[in-house]
Structures are given as structure tokens and as C-alpha cells.
Amino acid sequence: MAEQEVQTLIKQLNQSLSSRNFTTASSLLSRAKIALLHLNALIPSPGTPGTHLHLARETLELGALISIRLQDPESFTRYFHSLTPFYALPSSRLPKEGGNESKITGLYLLLLLSQGDYAGFHTLLEGLEVAAAEKEEGGRKGLEEDKFIQYPIRLEQALMEGSYDRVWGETKGERVPSEEFGVFSEVLIGTIRAEIASCSEKAYPSIPISNAKNLFFLDSEGAVIQFAQQRGWTARDGRIYFPQQELEALGGSEKDILVTSGQVIENTLGYARELETIV
């Protein structure tokens, strides 16, 4: 009975996903999860029948996709973690076909990236790389051909290198592998803008406002001035000046000496103490 209930719920969920009616989806999801609990299929155990595994995976995947649409990263992370044991099952028990493993994983990677959790990103990637290397031996496609996984990897590479124009290019409509990935574009653009700003403060003595528009991927010169004010820069004679740089040039050396002398004193005292214990 519960099995049928889950099936109808999944149908309804698919409908609400395609009609973008996400508000009803959350209540449907919790009902589906309760039904799965009755089937004892929310966590895969050796005794769970194959059909139940299918149902559970599909429900959780739908849940994950819906929480992305609702921009709810916590709930997405929860869904991802409950899906992980399903993805770890051998394909003899739960075939990979019909699932959205790479899509969900790619989304999770992107989420980690947008949160700046590079350690988590690489930890997950390491696991994927190892799993993929093993699959490749079995004649299946590797990580390199998976567009959902490659997208966040490309983005991370560009971010680390500093080729921010490539990140900008990737967030444009046609390069995004699926609609859900687009949700993160806004966040990523914000991230790279902040990065570029902090780089510019150090790298340029000053830049013309018209050039800054392109540099920061902003739409108008008015937006540039607004952005400059947010960062505390001064705009004069059609150029942007970075006050932090000037401040550093002035007060930097003096402060440096203070910090250094404290450090030197501390070190020397440390040596003296150590010598005392040795001699």
C-alpha cells in the first residue's frame, strides 16, 4: 500500500517540478518520506527489495532538485547525504540508469564551491576520481566525459587560476549544463566580483571608470560608482582610486617595525628560556 502511495506521490512531485509549483512540493515530499519510512527504505539495507530502492532514490533526488529550486542549501545537503548510500550500492543491486547521480553530485560540488568550501570540494572530488578510475577499468566512461561533474571542476580551475573572465563565460545561459546549475550563477558572479575587487586594489594604481565597467562585469557606469562606494574607493575625474593602497604606502613601514620588534623580542626570550633548560 505504502508502495503505491510513494508512486503516486512521485508522480505528483514530478508534475509540480515541471509546473514550477514548489510550494506544494515540500508537503508532498514529507509525505513521501514518511511512506518510505513505512517501507523501511529510506536507508538502504541488505534486505531492501530493488523496487523500493528505486522509489527511495527517485524521491530523494526529486527532493534534492526541489530544494535547489527553493534555494535551500541546508536541505539540499541533507538530501545529498541521504542519497550517498544509494549511490554507493553496486550496480547489480541498483542500476545507475534512471538515476541522476552525476547531476546531483555536480550540483553539490557547485554548492561547495559557491560556499567557498574548497577543502570539502576536493575531498569529494578525490572520492569521485578514485571511483571513476576504477570504473574506467571496467570499460565505462570516466569523469572526463561527465558534463555535470566537469562543469564545477572547470569553474574551480578557473577560479584558482584567476581567469575570472572564464568563470563569467561559464555562467552564461548556454554553457550551463542544466537549469538547476543556473541557480548558482548569481552567487558565483558575486564571488568573482569580490575577488576581482580585492585583486584590483593591489594591482592597479587607478583605473578609468569606463574600463572598470568591463572589468567587474557590471552593466553601467552608475553601477560601477555604486560598487566603488561599497568598497570604499574614491572616484575622481572619471577614474577610480584605491585608498587602501595609499594608506599602506604611508603607514605600512612604521607599523611593520612595531610588529617586527615584538616578534623579535618574543623569539629571543624564547631562545633564552630554551637555553636555560638545556644548559
Binding site: A88, E126, E161, C199, A203, V264, E274
Partner: protein
């Protein structure tokens, strides 16, 4: 060396008599270790156990079923349950068992045989059997036998078994690693022993059994990393404390795995520290070349990721030269800042890097190649157009080049400014390095390392047992004498003049 010599000499003769003699000799060698174990129990000194364990490597090549049968028959009374379990694991079929046993004459029952066999001897024989099964590639039997063995060790719960237990767990884990499907498959049997190892860790901690604790932590880390469960390994490190008194080899292994975890998590400084200690603590003899190479590979990649270039001398060490060749080429490419060459080498040696588990780390080097390239350019040109940078580094566009250079400036890789309108990078005059804090910092690092070394050497010193009691006794006596003297002075028996008189007399 000695064992191989013996083997060579014995081979051409193939004389049944000499064979039996060498069997008897080996069995006697095994049994000579029993007295060490007995002494370890009576004197409660783990050093004797360690000595017995150390003899395993020399016995290893001489182990045969006949040797075992002989040693077991000599040690145990007939039909002892322990002897039965050992023999069951030793022989694959009943027939083999009979044929071997028939060759061995039943021992003469004299009074000595009646002595009770201590459990340490049971376990020691068990470990020898584990070694033999592993060498003869009977992994299934080994896995089954090891599970029984460690269960028995846990039941016995004797502190004199600690170092033996550590060894038994080590082989247990080795056997499971060899079972199909091998890691990193998520269905690998190694996952099934995690529960056992965690339970062993728990009881080892509760029993203050530091040998097993250290060994099991290392095994668990190895287990997690083999299936790429990095976050679980990280959680284990965060939840446990590695015992200070662990043997050097375990410390080296622990540091190696810790370094690997930290490298994956991008904490390169920490990873570098751990891996450096791991390579330094690795035994310098030829025994553990594999470990040394593996940790060296990671160390090199981590150094590259930190923006340093490993020294040339590292690669010319005879035991590293061959194994590290791909890494040597990698270093050359990164040093030159040559993107095309770097990509070619990564592609060429991808399978090696995959096998070493360094592939993902190597891929991260891409940005370092670019950075080194930029640094080289900024050192050689005082002013260079962004277009030229783009061409020389093989970048996609001038805009990319501009952002990359800006990032390099912010991260302190180069000292320069960019002129956006004219599209060039202008290098700032390099300051005098001795005017900065850098030399002082480098010096400080070295002093710190020396002091730490001193501290560790002091900690590692060993003192004879109970020596301090003697000193305490002496001190006690001295104090008593002093008290008596004080009392006498107080009583006036020896007055100040008397005491001073001595000096005058001198």
C-alpha cells in the same frame, strides 16, 4: 642475506636428511623465542616480546607446513584445542595433514611437556602462521584465521600481549585488503573489518594498550584512504589522540596518512610538515623503500603546490631515482613554467599518478605552473605587455592574463602593477631581501626545528628500571645524616668552634 645463502646451499643437495635437519633447526629457532616470551611475562618487560617479534623476519623465509607441524607437536600436548585450530588453518585438506603428520615422530613425553603453555606462545605461533599464509597467498584462509586470532586476543586481555596484538591486527587488515573485490571498490571486504578495528581501538584505549591503539589507528586510516573516504579519515583523526609512546614505524605511517589527508584538504603547510617528518622517520635501511618512495612522492607534489621547487639532490638518491622519474619531469615542467610541457607530462604519466594516488593533487598544479611562468616573466622583464604574457603562457585571452596577473600580485607572487589602459605589467624594483623579516623568519624556523629535535631526543632516552629508587634511597640517607647533624648541633654536642676547628687544622 644469510637466509638466502642458506637456501642456495641447500638447494642442489635436495637431500631428505638435510631437509629434515633444517626443519628441525627452524622449529628449534621458533621454540627458542618461547623462552623470550616467558621472560617477558615473568619480568613484565615488553622488550623481550619485541625481540621475539623481530626474529619473525629471519624465520619468515624458512617457514613450511612441516616446520609448523613440528613446532606445534613439540609445544602442545596431543589434541590440545589451540594446536587444532592452528593445524586446521595450516593445511588445506585432511590428506595433506595426514601425510605431513606421519613424517613427524610423536615427541617423547618427558616431564617438560607437562608445563602449561602460556597464551603469548599461542599468539606468537598464530602470528607466524599469519605470515606464512600471507606469503603463500592463501588470503581467504588467512582472513578467516586472523579473525579468530584477534577475537581470542581480545578475550585474553593480557597486557603482555599488547605488542603481539598490534602485529596480529596488522596482518588481519593485510589479508582483507587482498580479498576481491579489492579497494577502492565500495563493495570491498576491507569495509567490513572497520567495525572490528573500531572496536579494537575502543578497547585498546580503555585498556591503555598503546601498541594496539597506534597500530589500529594507522590501519583504520589506511582503510579509509584506500576507499577514498577522506572525510571519515579526517573525523577519525579529529576524534582520536595518537599515543606518544608509539613505536617509530607507526608514527611514520600515521604522519604519512595525516599528510595525505591534509594535502587533499588543501592545508599544504600542515601536509608538508607531516610528510617531512614521515620521510625523516622512515627507516633508512632498504627494508622500507616502498614507504619512503610513497611519502617522498607526496612530499614533492605538496612542495610544488606550496610554490617551492624540491631540491635536485632528492631525485638522485639511488633508491628514489627510478621510482620518482615521472615526478622529476613534473618538477622540471613546473620549474620552467611551461604549460604545454606540463600537460603533456600529466597525460603521459596519468596512470602512474593514478596508481600513486597523487593524480588530483597533480592536476591542481596547473595554477602553479602559470604562477611560476608569471614570476619568471616578471623577473626577466621590467615591463611586458599583457598580450605577450598571454602568448608566452599559452592562455586563452588577454583578459584572462590580466586577471591572472592581478591575482598573482594580490597573492604576493610578484611585485608589480598593471596599467590597464596601455595594457602592460610593470615590475616594481625588487627590494633588498635582507631589509625584510624573511631571513629572521627562516632562521627562527631552523632554531625551532633544532630545539624540537633536542626535546625529542631527551624524551626518547631510556633509563634502567628502578634506578631511581636507588637514588631515592641515597637521598633519604643523606637527608637523615643531615638531620642527625642538625640535631647534634642543636644539642650542642658539636658546637660552632668544633666545626670551625677542622678548617683551622687544614
Amino acid at each position: 642475506m644469510a637466509e638466502t645463502m642458506e637456501g642456495v646451499e641447500g638447494a642442489p643437495q635436495q637431500n631428505g636428511d638435510t631437509q629434515q635437519n633444517s626443519e628441525e633447526k627452524t622449529a628449534a629457532d621458533i621454540r627458542s623465542n618461547f623462552s623470550l616470551l616467558e621472560r617477558a611475562v615473568t619480568q613484565f618487560d615488553a622488550r623481550f616480546t619485541l625481540r621475539a617479534l623481530r626474529s619473525i623476519s629471519s624465520l619468515r623465509k624458512r617457514l613450511t607446513p612441516e616446520v609448523f607441524a613440528r613446532a606445534i607437536a613439540l609445544t602442545y600436548p596431543q589434541n590440545a584445542p589451540t594446536a587444532k585450530t592452528l593445524l586446521q588453518a595450516l593445511f588445506e585438506s585432511e590428506n595433506e595433514f595426514r601425510s605431513v603428520m606421519s613424517k613427524i615422530e610423536p615427541p617423547q613425553s618427558n616431564g617438560k611437556q607437562e608445563k602449561e603453555v602460556i597464551p603469548e606462545i599461542d599468539i606468537y605461533l598464530g602470528i607466524l602462521l599469519q605470515v606464512y599464509l600471507y606469503d603463500s597467498k592463501r588470503y581467504e584462509t588467512g582472513a578467516r584465521f586472523s579473525t579468530v586470532l584477534v577475537d581470542r586476543i581480545r578475550e585474553l586481555n593480557r597486557r603482555t600481549l599488547d605488542s603481539l596484538a598490534a602485529r596480529a591486527y596488522f596482518y588481519l587488515s593485510l589479508f582483507f585488503e587482498e580479498l576481491d573485490p579489492k579497494p577502492p571498490s565500495p563493495q570491498s571486504p576491507v569495509i567490513s573489518i572497520r567495525k572490528n578495528l573500531l572496536a579494537a581501538l575502543r578497547s585498546a584505549v580503555l585498556r591503555k594498550d598503546q601498541d594496539t591503539q597506534a597500530a589500529v589507528i594507522v590501519l583504520l586510516l589506511r582503510n579509509y584512504i584506500s576507499t577514498a573516504d577522506i572525510s571519515q579519515a579526517d573525523a577519525l583523526v579529529a576524534q582520536t589522540t595518537f599515543p606518544h609512546t608509539a613505536p617509530n614505524n607507526q608514527v611514520a605511517r600515521y604522519l604519512y596518512y595525516l599528510g595525505r589527508i591534509r594535502a587533499i584538504q588543501l592545508s599544504y603547510t600542515e601536509a608538508h610538515e607531516h610528510l617531512t617528518s614521515a620521510t625523516r622517520k622512515a627507516p633508512s635501511s632498504t627494508v622500507a623503500v616502498g614507504f619512503y618512495q610513497a611519502s617522498m612522492k607526496f612530499l614533492i607534489v605538496v612542495e610544488l603546490l606550496m610554490g617551492d621547487i624540491p631540491e635536485r639532490a632528492v631525485f638522485s638518491q639511488p633508491k628514489l631515482e627510478l621510482g620518482l622519474e615521472p615526478y622529476f619531469k613534473l618538477v622540471q615542467a613546473v620549474r620552467a613554467g611551461e604549460m604545454q610541457g606540463f600537460l603533456r607530462i600529466v597525460q603521459q604519466h596519468a596512470s602512474t599518478f593514478h596508481h600513486d594516488g597523487t593524480y588530483t593533487l597533480v592536476l591542481r598544479l596547473r595554477q602553479n605552473v602559470i604562477r611560476t611562468g608569471i614570476r619568471m616573466l616578471s623577473l626577466s622583464y621590467s615591463r611586458i605587455s599583457l598580450r605577450d604574457i598571454c602568448i608566452r603562457l599559452g592562455l586563452e585571452s588577454e583578459e584572462s592574463a590580466e586577471y591572472i596577473v592581478a591575482k598573482a600580485i594580490r597573492d604576493g607572487v610578484i611585485e608589480a602593477t598593471i596599467d590597464h589602459e596601455k595594457g602592460y605589467m610593470q615590475t616594481k624594483q625588487a627590494g633588498d631581501i635582507y631589509a625584510t623579516r624573511e631571513p629572521a623568519e627562516a632562521f627562527h624556523e631552523r632554531i625551532k626545528a633544532c630545539l624540537a629535535l633536542h626535546d625529542e631526543s631527551v624524551k626518547a632516552m631510556r633509563f634502567p628500571m628502578n634506578q631511581h629508587r636507588l637514588e631515592l634511597k641515597n637521598a633519604q640517607e643523606a637527608r637523615e645524616r643531615e638531620r642527625e647533624l642538625a640535631k647534634e648541633i642543636q644539642d650542642g654536642e658539636i658546637d660552632e668552634d668544633d666545626a670551625a676547628g677542622d678548617f683551622e687544622g687544614l
